[in-house]
């Protein structure tokens, strides 16, 4: 066995993905060349995935603090106070490349990883969301990938007993070779019992708990997510990680039980770059060192080298710094849950990350070199060459539809708009019995047991907008999330993001990234929703083609009174249907333009953050005063699709609507345009007066569109369709496409 203690050459360093300059800096700092094991450690810690070297300086622009923020970015998850002595811990993370290679296991382990990030903080996970991007249905692998990813997310979440209550799914040829799988978890924690990953107490034992270490995913997340894909990457493929949700369930219960006892000083999950990053990061936060005895690591295979052990990304493992003397307590709890717990090292004061193997020191690196002093780049950023031409949209060359009813049906049949029930039916959305509003409305709403409160959750991003204008697109992702939360009766509290982009070494991609950060910042500042955690996924490229920029935003909101929760569908015949906000003549980047005219073109809808805030304010106020029977934000597909969804997403029998629409703009823009800052409400007739008062106090445009009536959606004079017809198309769009003949896996 090659232990790897000889100094490595520059060529080996380049092979590990380090640049020549980076290698030179390492040698200079150390006063020697690193050995192979150290090179492995350095390469993962300095990888884009772990070091955020291209994104760090830009992420600093995001607002991250606020009166309720108990923990911002930098820990395993962000934490926000919700009163009553409780807080929510949440984060979102990508598992894009692994899911493309092996959709079921890739997605499953993505869920497993994000769950660990949250229960590491001491929080009991109560909800999962997922944000998915697939290629077009014409692509030969799409259905195989959809099937696998959805089954994998369900397989893991259902088994571990955390409900998946919402998400989003889009299909676009831009993801044909690079799908996106972003997973979000939120947990509840007592605000005085938050656990962190900061090692303290020289001499304290470092304890390894959970599954044994195998050769899974060596250089997996860290390297795969830090370099572009190409055909040959398949060959270098590290052993795929396989999830074991049952073991994770044991780990979850054991960790939460242990957290009730006074034993833990610091705790972190072993995610990307496993044992290395968890020890180094815990030591780094505490300004201390860690010494590991690799002979103590529980291993699954014979003849694992120090390199393997330090870089393995085996799942369902955690690292704990315990109080000295508490070893027995830790082991006792883990024994009860039939899990391994092994003392594998201790906290040191030398600020070094050291590891021994067969009594020989195989790693000795300054922790600082691996954390704060890791490279950080200010990469050049320039708009893509086609930016200006993309923005041009000649409306006079867009003929209006011949039959608006048919156009509406075609939009409802678009996989991007159609019901996602085919997906979320495969997820247990009920377990833990907190789900007041499950998937299928604007935001999910969960109760917080023991209080009168509720949590509202939504994840959003329209990457078509982001492609056309990443600044505006990112702003819209934030405000749409907030709007969804508001429509459900929640006050937006804070955000976690997952920023999926191409290769940051390309100025055009870097520009998209910086513009998106600017958009998130401006929107979050305006809405008062700090970003408390997040994740960057670069190198989503295959053969030089990057994905559309996709900064997914998960918005978390709070309902002070659970009874204010509101759903999007019409409730009763005779209720008045009202539009908050104004419709402009905007068709750029719409689903209508793509479906009916085959164009992805123009500027995305404009967004005025002040107006957006006012519209949300009116909606919330009206909900709080008990005026609102249903609230639905207008998004993809515009007003017509929004109204159709209000008709058909509720329980049987579906309620129709009689609408009179007039406006000085093109009828297709009026019906299918995607102007922002609009919400459709339904209210009892006698409440209309009060609603008008609230709207005018906030200076928000209010239009009475019509009323809930009958079993047809009539938008005179252009649209008249039976609700059952709308529903048939809307609910069959995905099942019909997924039921087509099986697709091979390769």
């Amino acid at each position: 066995m090659r232990i790897g203690t000889e100094p490595v050459s520059k060529a080996e360093a380049l092979d590990h993905g380090l640049s020549a300059e980076e290698f030179a800096r390492i040698c200079e700092t150390l006063g020697r060349a690193p050995n192979l094991v150290e090179l492995g450690v350095l390469s993962v810690m300095w990888s884009e995935h772990c070091s955020y070297k291209s994104s760090r300086r830009h992420l600093k622009q995001l607002p991250t603090s606020g009166p309720r923020v108990l923990q911002g970015p930098g820990e395993n998850a962000g934490v926000i106070d919700i009163g009553d002595g409780l807080a929510v811990a949440f984060k979102m993370e990508s598992h894009n490349h692994p899911s493309f290679v092996e959709p079921y296991q890739g997605a499953a382990t993505g869920v497993g990883g994000i769950l660990r990030d949250v229960f590491t903080m001491g929080a009991r996970p109560i909800a999962n969301l997922n944000s998915l991007r697939f290629g077009s249905f014409d692509h030969p692998r799409t259905r195989y990938l959809v099937n696998g990813v959805v089954a994998g997310i369900g397989g893991y979440g259902n088994c571990i007993g955390v409900p998946t209550v919402g998400g989003e799914v889009y299909f676009d040829a831009g993801y044909n070779e690079n799908i996106l799988v972003n997973a979000f978890t939120l947990g509840i924690v007592r605000n005085d019992r938050i656990f962190r990953a900061k090692a303290t107490g020289v001499g304290n034992p470092v304890i390894y708990v959970g599954s044994k270490t195998g050769r899974d995913g060596i250089h997996g997340a860290s390297l795969l997510a830090s370099a572009e894909f190409s055909g040959e990457a398949e060959e270098k493929r590290p052993t795929v990680q396989v999830g074991d949700p049952f073991t994770e369930k044991l780990l979850l219960e054991a960790c939460l039980e242990l957290m009730e006892l006074d034993a833990i000083v610091a705790i972190q999950d072993m995610g990307a770059a496993g044992l290395t990053s968890s020890s180094v990061e815990m030591a780094g936060r505490g300004g201390l060192g860690i010494l590991l005895d690799l002979d103590q690591i529980p291993v699954r295979e014979m003849s694992m080298t120090p390199y393997d052990m330090l870089l393995s990304e085996s799942q369902e493992r955690m690292l704990i710094v315990a109080r000295a003397g508490a070893e027995e307590i830790v082991q006792g709890v883990f024994r009860k849950w039939d899990l391994d717990a092994a003392v594998v090292g201790s906290v040191t004061e030398d600020g070094l990350f050291r590891a021994t193997f067969h009594k020989q020191e195989v790693v000795c690196l300054p922790v600082g070199l691996l954390t704060d002093d890791a490279p950080a780049y200010d990469r050049p950023a320039n708009p893509p060459d086609d930016f200006d031409t993309l923005q041009v949209l000649r409306l006079d060359r867009i003929p209006p539809p011949g039959d608006y009813s048919q156009t509406l049906l075609r939009l409802l049949d678009s996989p991007n708009i159609a019901s996602k029930a085919w997906v979320y039916r495969q997820y247990d959305s009920l377990v833990r019995s907190n789900t007041i509003v499950g998937p299928g409305s604007d935001a999910a709403v969960l109760r917080v047991k023991g209080t009168h409160k509720g949590i509202a959750l939504s994840v959003d991003c329209n990457s078509r907008y982001c492609l056309l204008d990443p600044y505006v697109g990112a702003m819209i992702a934030v405000v749409e999330g907030a709007r969804n939360v508001v429509c459900s009766g929640g006050v937006p509290l804070g955000v976690t993001d997952c920023l999926n982009f191409g290769n940051p070494e390309k100025p055009a991609v870097m520009w998209q990234f910086t513009e998106a950060i600017r958009g998130i910042r401006d929107a979050c500042v305006a809405l008062n929703t700090p970003v408390v955690s997040g994740n960057v996924s670069f190198y989503n490229e295959t053969d030089g083609r990057a994905i559309p920029p996709t900064p997914s935003i998960a918005m978390v909101g709070l309902l002070d009174q659970l009874e204010h929760h509101t759903t999007q569908w019409f409730k009763a015949e005779g209720d008045q249907i009202v539009l908050l906000g104004r419709t402009r003549e905007e068709l750029g980047g719409t689903e209508y333009l793509a479906i009916e005219h085959g164009q992805v073109q123009g500027a995305p809808p404009w967004i005025d953050l002040r107006v957006e805030k006012q519209v949300q304010q009116v909606c919330l106020q009206a909900i709080r005063e008990g005026l609102v029977r249903s609230a639905h934000d207008v998004s993809e597909g515009g007003l017509a699709v929004c109204l159709a969804e209000c008709c058909i997403t509720g329980p049987d029998p579906h309620l129709g609507a009689a609408i009179e629409l007039e406006g000085a703009i093109r009828p297709d823009a009026l019906l299918f345009g995607e102007s922002q800052s609009r919400i459709v409400l339904s209210v009892r007739k006698r409440q209309l007066g009060r609603l008008r008062e609230i709207a005018s106090a906030e200076d928000v445009t209010l239009t009475v569109l019509g009323e809930v009536r009958g079993r047809r959606l009539v938008i005179s004079p252009l649209i008249d369709v039976d609700c059952e017809e709308l529903a048939r198309v809307y609910y069959n769009a995905l099942p019909r496409r997924m039921a087509a003949d099986a697709q091979p896996s390769s």
């Binding site: 599954s211 795929v240 896996s745």
Partner: protein, 80 residues
Amino acid sequence: MRARVFITPKKGVLDPQGKAVERSLHALGFAEAHDVHLGKYIELSIEGGDRAQAERRTDEMCRRLLANGVIEDYRFELQD
């Protein structure tokens, strides 16, 4: 012709199912059971063609559909 296909987790890939079955066997007192792996077993009939062709086609079925090459190995036997 009858084909019997055996699909097993690739070496080195975590096999939580095998692990769980092994744990269960031990719990039931079968201490002598070790190195347990759980895979799939598929039986099918292949109509027409000769043995060589059946072999080629079965192999193709395994590669394209029955086994997931990323995490699974396969083997098969043919019988008349």
